[in-house]
């Protein structure tokens, strides 16, 4: 409009001043009459005729599924999950009970395909049952740490000011302590059990999520659409959870897959040190009991070790795949 002749503008302005505001007939807006759409919104017309792009979520899924590493990770994790579910069916007995001659090597006796340990316990039964505790601790600790971390991080990042200062101090208290030492202390104070180990891992893993969420919220709260949401009279909770959080999710999802892997490693490390639940077999505790015999019966440490390595690797591959699929910096040019 700025290129219009000022002389014309005067005419327009004068005309407008004379004409009183009168209710003009509303342009026909029924879908049966498509004539106006060309006239009033040619931009809209050209858009609707062009092919509709795939939505964000579906495009991300496509990127994820075209990544062989991510597919391998997902497949292996699915296998571990299935094993965790069917372990009590395959081996209904307690995997900690002595069932055969000790120190049977893998393949020596067809009843014990992966051999037996120094007390005559079935190694295969141990590994299959061990997947249950590893997954339980990994997933539950991550879910707890994620929930609390996202809550703290979003509140701190969204409100800023003294709330942010207070919460960041709290995060820093946890981050200045060496996390594994804190974990050992927490488990040692409480009685070691699957529940306390899970809670302790959640306690030491939430600050990372909180920091990440806070950083995302600080960036996103300055965006125009958040201002628009405020101008519509939305409350703080609605803006945090409906407007900002879905936009902050991609890096949080990526981190969470790595968190599951870290939690599994921590649980194994605790069990290795004898701080795990003594009544439940876990991969870490199997390595722990086999470590003194590593020169004579190395398979006792190697087999549960391989289980840990592949599960953690699978989770990391999933994390990388998710990062490629969800990270806007990489996904822009795909």
């Amino acid at each position: 409009m700025s290129t219009t002749d000022i002389g014309t503008l005067r005419g327009v302005a004068a005309e407008r001043q004379i004409a009183p505001i009168e209710a003009e007939p509303v342009a026909p807006s029924s879908p049966a009459d498509p004539a106006w759409s060309n006239m009033k919104a040619p931009d809209a017309r050209s858009q609707s005729s062009s092919a509709v792009a795939v939505t964000n979520g579906r495009r991300a899924l496509k990127v994820f599924l075209s990544n062989p590493n991510a597919l391998f990770g997902t497949g292996f994790l699915a296998l571990v999950i299935i094993i965790a579910f069917i372990a009590p069916i395959l081996y209904p007995d307690d995997p900690l009970s002595m069932v055969g001659r000790p120190f049977l090597w893998p393949g020596q006796n067809p009843d014990f395909p992966l051999g037996t340990d120094s007390l005559g316990r079935d190694v295969l039964a141990g590994i299959l049952h061990g997947s249950r505790i590893s997954l339980f601790v990994g997933l539950t600790a991550t879910a707890l740490g994620l929930t609390f971390g996202v809550l703290v991080g979003s509140v701190a990042g969204y409100f800023g000011g003294w709330i942010d200062d207070a919460l960041v101090r709290l995060i820093e208290i946890f981050q200045t302590l060496p996390s594994f030492v804190l974990l050992v202390v927490l488990v040692a104070i409480a009685q070691p059990s699957a529940t306390t180990v899970t809670l302790a891992i959640a306690v030491i893993s939430w600050p990372t999520v909180a920091r990440l969420t806070r950083a995302e919220f600080r960036a996103i709260r300055e965006k125009d659409f958040v201002m628009a949401a405020r101008s519509l009279g939305y409350g703080h909770m609605r803006i945090i959870f409906r407007e900002i959080l879905p936009n902050a999710l991609p890096p949080i999802i990526v981190t969470s897959s790595v968190m599951v892997a870290t939690a599994i490693l921590m649980e194994s490390a605790l069990s290795f040190m004898g701080l795990g639940d003594p009544n439940v077999v876990s991969w870490g505790s199997m390595i722990g009991t086999g470590r003194e015999l590593v020169r004579t019966a190395w398979y006792l440490t190697a087999l549960p070790g391989l289980a840990i390595v592949f599960t953690v690797l699978a989770l990391n591959l999933i994390g990388d795949g998710l990062n490629d699929a969800l990270n806007p910096r990489f996904s822009q040019d795909r």
């Binding site: 759409s37 919104a41 009279g233």
Partner: protein, 332 residues
């Protein structure tokens, strides 16, 4: 009729500056008020002050904003939140970034209806389709499920308008609604705003730096400079007979002043210098750039005077209206 919105002596203060000073204006029901001025003149801050959404550092230092008989500055956060989006709505400059990128436009429209009108999910999504139809988006039944990135800039601004008018607000603040759009779409969007204003009996505060927009769509114009109102007029009077030297400069700087003007015909006239800092300047804020500045201009800020009905001007050296042949002043 009492004005719908009356702003009296509004002053907005940052710790080290006062970007809006002593600003007063009013707007009646169903009226369009245009606020014009260059970047930095305090237009957008005024809009944010009306919504009570000023940045943290800024405070309304003094003044009164009466909306429908209530002083907005005295409302608490909760009451103000109920007013926002329902009685006063706002459209922003950037349609590309003002929509939530991960929510379909239908859900974004439905959201505001759920919050303010307490509609159920189903009723809200039906209304969303109607609203898309109202802002002339073709095939609204299909478009509701689109994400913002699937729409063009003009379409997105239409969606923003649909969200803004969803609850039939009494006042719509449009902060440079067409600046980010190309020229053909600009006219359509402004036409749409004007039609909706009539249909819904809304008052519109149109913030712009485009004089063409002012001429075509405004009922009343406020010219701002460095946070102050320097002139107020009906658009016809403003274009035929600009009084303040700044307004004259703005009009002279518009392209195609003459018919068939081409850039080879000569340079456009310009206002020398740039907008002065609103902080700590004695006298008339326009004095350093004004061709008619006199020594007395530095003494005190010129008061608004009423040279004619429906007019206000903040310059003591405007000759009586009849005596100034405006065409000569603009060398037309």
């Amino acid at each position: 009729m009492a004005p719908l919105l009356q702003v009296d002596n509004l002053t907005i203060r940052f710790p080290r500056a006062e970007p809006v000073r002593d600003l007063s204006f009013d707007i009646g029901q169903g009226e369009t008020l245009a606020i014009v001025g260059e970047s930095g003149s305090g237009k957008s801050l005024t809009a944010l002050a009306l919504m009570q959404l000023l940045p943290r550092a800024a405070k309304v230092a003094s003044g009164r904003i009466a909306f429908g008989g209530r002083d907005l500055l005295k409302l608490d956060a909760r009451e103000m939140r109920h007013l926002r989006g329902r009685d006063i709505a706002m459209i922003f400059q950037e349609p590309m970034t003002s929509l939530n990128p991960v929510m379909t436009i239908g859900r974004q429209i439905a959201e505001v209806l759920k919050v303010h009108e307490r509609l159920s999910g189903r009723a809200a999504s039906e209304r969303a389709v109607e609203l898309l139809k109202l802002v002339r988006i073709p095939a609204p039944e299909k478009r509701v499920d689109d994400y913002p990135h699937q729409l063009s800039g003009g379409m997105r601004q239409r969606v923003m308008i649909a969200i803004a008018v969803a609850c039939k607000p009494k006042l719509l603040i449009a902060d440079e609604p067409t600046t980010a759009l190309d020229v053909t779409i600009q006219a359509q969007v402004l036409d749409l705003l004007d039609t909706l204003r009539r249909e819904l009996q809304m008052a519109v505060v149109l913030i712009t730096h485009d004089l063409g927009v002012v001429a075509q769509w405004a009922d009343k114009v406020v010219v701002m400079y460095a946070g102050r109102k320097v002139e107020q007029a009906l658009p016809g009077d403003l274009f035929n007979n600009p009084l303040h030297p700044y307004t004259r400069g703005l009009l002279a700087a518009s392209p195609r002043l003459k018919n068939d003007f081409h850039y080879r015909d000569g340079a456009l006239s310009e206002i020398p210098g740039s907008i002065v800092s609103a902080a700590g300047e004695a006298g008339c804020p326009f004095r350093p750039r004004c061709a008619q500045a006199r020594a007395s201009c530095g003494h005190h800020v010129p008061q608004l005077t009423v040279p004619a009905p429906d007019r206000l001007v903040a310059c003591p050296f405007t000759s009586p209206i009849k005596a100034v042949p405006h065409a000569a002043a603009l060398s037309l």
